[in-house]
Symmetry: C2
Subunit: 583 residues, 2 copies
């Protein structure tokens, strides 16, 4: 079973959903034309399908191996990564002035999806490097940029995020790693960091760790954190690599999934670090990196969902079992003919395409917000990021699980491959901020803080789409009906949240994840609905018909969940907060 | 983290939900008193917690091993199984006349839950043996009963079900294994069976395979299947073991979960088999066994859910992270204080207790139906079996996944143990008939066949519970409101299903799984509501308060899903059936 990158749908999303007209009118992207984007993505698709996808099952079986302080990657990863560097793919979305290709974020999202669908374990390394690049671009000094950006954008060096410690996971205020300034201006970093993705590996000649630590006089809690560059090998003034830094990998984790992605425990023993920006602003900087990573993790969710869908679809076409329930055929048929298998496949497809559409739209908003002073776009972009992360990752677990189910007993056998997606997907709603953390971000920072202004703008834009659907054909009108009902559920929940944010904050946060799921489901359904409108005209009839059919299925099978979430929020907070947990 | 068998809740379910008055009035159970049941379950609980639970992680890590045609079980399993036999636990629910203890099915369900919560891989062996015993009791000849029942009920021999072949999974009509009668009346069985749970192991001195096969002149399809006893070792007339039969284990599967439960490929090469009952009636007999096994697999779902809940609860009490959102405490608190962690824990608890309550009720119905001529009880029991299997197993996957989520990053590390439940649970909605098969059974055989009569009786009984809740306190009334809304959704969906069963059978079956999930959620909510009524009086205040709180949470957080399922059924069939899957 090979991976077939969905380039047509990715291009459809870029063209119709990523605010392409506005994005491509930005000066920074003035040379970026759709046909070029298509050519780049086709080329990347070939690379992912041919070079990377075959590594996924091998990597899962072998896993990254740890021995005597060194991590050895599974067979083929080193060669494939060298090719990734050779072809310059790490540079795709980064600024031309630092050696990047300068493509918009929506193109980057398409690339992230394909690479992670091909092999999520492999895809994590470039994903983390992207985050490190983004953080350095926005907060690094000119000297730091000159030293580190080039090799990172080339992919010759990789980047990591060092946040978590045994006692500090979601609660970064508890970070205890120490940073003591030395006479030469550098800092001695001492402490233990855990869950460091690609914290040690043999793919690149250097690893640039971005590390949250605390200076001796820093205030307690999250406001006393500073961010440091800690290269695995120190970099000489001429850019060559010098001595090894005092950072050691003491073990890697034995994980449920993404087993070819080494998750390291790193010990810093007076390692040399370089402060980024100002002391005590580390968390703010880390959030820049984290926001980029959160968006990308949402896209990983789409990636796993797509791969699981393709595998299940191929099996459902191939596997012959049982006659149709309507009795019209007397022989067993491929199981794709059975209504419930269709239901599962369509659920997988609509959730996958919904997530992709929403991610493309968000990528466009992020680009516009980044390159133009526009508080409305910026607020909408920030509003969308926790939705992409929270919704697409939770749904990836569901989609991967459906993929196992479609395979029946074969799905439970590891060699089939469906189970790997189910295992790999499970980390997605956890890392880069759990779903609850995303929900708190959405509710606290993106909804309550501006009194619901952005949320109401979001709803108003959806209403505009509904109005367009209302003058369409029967399918369009049915999509519009589902969307309007879901939006009404959202607005009811929103009013209640805003009211309770003043009167009963616990009750509000008791519904934070249901609110995230409601809003995410609505955002994905809205994105699919916009796609359905765009698909009313065009060339490829089968593709356009499918886009509309998928949006309709989503409107009738997924959007009704919004009313359930609304019910939970409005009626369920007291029973949630009052219940006791006796021994 | 040790397993604490929930004996108090199990006994509560037996006393208040398993129709205990009627069951214990049956002649066969006339000597069975609740205090005795309590003593038996306490004893079994100790065995499960102390002897079995410690094996679970070891077994998962080592797995069953296959070498040169032999299966070796993980460390400790052989000794623990010997103790299981020594204590006579296999006999718990079987007839006294064959050496059984003769306890009712509800007690058996409690025992199955505890054993499988302790170690599902271990629990599968006795579960399959129970099924073989049940089939022999109902369909075996006197001689077959005399030969096989004693050692099976002792647990000295184990039983298996041999249905699946590479081309015949859900579609048993495609079974191709041959059975050719010999001059001595026995049959020569030849063919390959796959996915045979405990098809080979070193726990017992013999294995009794029940095998579906086809005689030379049998009609094609499911009506040409016969059922055979194929002992691994032939049994001499005096009951001693003779020559090895021509059944060979050629491999075992490398699975996502339940790794200590060997899943065998068995080759029958003119093996000696003995016909059970009549030729061509094999599927009917197998369904007897399968119905018992399906119910038990539903209980396995409750078991995994309970274990996952206990593990998550312990972690949530222990792990300190972040201040409360309401700002009333300035220090980090155990995460159980955070609303969303409470939400996840209560979701886990209410789904687990709901499944347990529903299983206890169904067990009682099955006993009454089995031992008394009462078509109404029989029909209700049959109606409930696919709900217990379908709903409890799908929810087990969800609950296990929430258990991982509560652990955050630690949940993804295999040593933590939460991931094992997520892996183990995944087989439950697949084996003994996938969720779609259960849904077809519910809709086709249990609803449409009697024109909805049983389904309406089910709804009417729920309405009676609602009436009692209406005169209760605020919690009771709120539970009643949730139940009434869910029942209304059920009746709307039922009307639509009955109408479409005549006019558009494809549309009806397009909603079969949503209908199963709706009905299952309602049945579990109803069972919890009956429990809440029972909990209004009694001794242990903390326990009774928890029962009511759990039922209320379920009514407000889970039952609203019924309306969503109803929407999918009524509005979603066309978009499901019309969608194309272009290449």
């Amino acid at each position: 079973m090979s991976y077939q990158p969905p380039v047509q749908d990715l291009m459809f999303c870029i063209e119709h959903l990523s605010h392409w007209e506005t994005v491509s009118a930005l000066e920074v992207y003035s040379e970026c034309e759709l046909p070029d984007v298509g050519a780049v993505l086709e080329s990347y698709a070939r690379f992912c399908a041919e070079q990377i996808a075959p590594l996924s099952q091998v990597g899962d079986t072998q896993g990254a191996r740890f021995e005597k302080g060194r991590v050895t990657m599974p067979d083929g990863d080193v060669q494939a990564y060298a090719q990734f560097v050779e072809m310059g793919w790490q540079a795709l979305t980064h600024p031309v002035e630092y050696g990047g290709i300068g493509m918009p974020r929506a193109v980057g999202a398409a690339a992230v999806e394909m690479l992670n669908a091909a092999d999520m374990s492999f895809g994590l390394c470039p994903l983390l490097t992207d985050g490190a690049i983004e953080a350095l671009l926005l907060t690094g000094s000119d000297e730091q940029k000159a030293t580190y950006l080039g090799p990172l954008i080339e992919g010759r060096w990789s980047g990591t995020m060092n946040l978590t410690e045994p006692q500090a996971g979601s609660d970064l205020g508890r970070v205890a790693t120490k940073a003591v300034q030395r006479a030469d201006g550098s800092y001695g970093i001492t402490g233990t960091k855990i869950f460091i993705t690609y914290g040690a590996h043999d793919l690149t000649e250097n690893i640039i760790h971005l590390v949250l630590a605390r200076t001796p006089d820093a205030p307690a809690g999250p406001k006393g954190l500073s961010l440091f560059i800690v290269p695995q090998k120190l970099v000489e003034p001429d850019g060559t690599l010098g001595a090894a830094n005092a950072v050691n990998c003491v073990s890697i984790e034995h994980k449920l999934g993404v087993r070819a992605s080494p998750t390291a425990v790193l010990e810093y023993d007076d390692a040399t670090g370089f402060l980024i920006g100002e002391e005590n602003s580390g968390l703010e900087y880390m959030f820049i990196m984290m926001n980029a990573a959160r968006f990308s993790v949402g896209v990983q969710g789409v990636a796993i969902a797509e791969r699981a869908y393709q595998r299940a679809l191929a099996y459902a076409r191939d596997r012959v079992q049982s006659r149709p329930v309507n009795g019209q055929i007397k022989d067993a048929v491929p199981i794709i003919e059975h209504p419930d298998v269709r239901r599962m496949l369509l659920r997988m497809r609509s959730l996958t395409e919904g997530g992709r559409a929403m991610a493309a739209s968000t990528a466009g908003l992020l680009d516009i917000a980044h390159h133009r002073e526009n508080p409305e776009f910026a607020a909408l972009a920030e509003f969308m990021v926790p939705l992409v992360k929270g919704f697409c990752t939770e749904r990836a677990v569901e989609v991967a699980s459906l993929g196992v189910q479609i395979h029946g007993g074969m799905g439970f056998i590891e060699e089939t491959g469906a189970a790997q997606h189910y295992r790999d997907a499970r980390i997605l709603p956890i890392y880069e901020g759990t779903t609850a953390i995303q929900a708190n971000d959405l509710l606290g920072r993106k909804v309550m803080r501006d009194g619901g202004a952005t949320a109401r703008l979001f709803a108003a834009q959806i209403a505009e789409t509904e109005a367009k659907l209302a003058s369409g054909d029967a399918s369009a009108r049915a999509i519009g009906t589902g969307l309007a009902q879901a939006r009404a559920a959202f607005e009811t929940a929103l009013d209640w949240m805003l009211e309770n944010s003043r009167t009963d904050i616990d009750a509000a946060f008791a519904g934070s994840v249901p609110f995230l799921m409601l809003t995410g489901a609505l955002a994905a359904g809205w994105s699919l609905a916009k796609g359905a409108l765009a698909a009313q005209t065009g060339q490829d009839n089968a593709f356009r018909t499918q886009k509309i059919a998928t949006a309709l299925f989503y409107a009738q099978h997924i959007l009704p969940e919004c009313a359930t979430e609304q019910n939970r929020i409005l009626c369920g907070s007291q029973s949630l907060l009052d219940a006791a947990f006796p021994d």
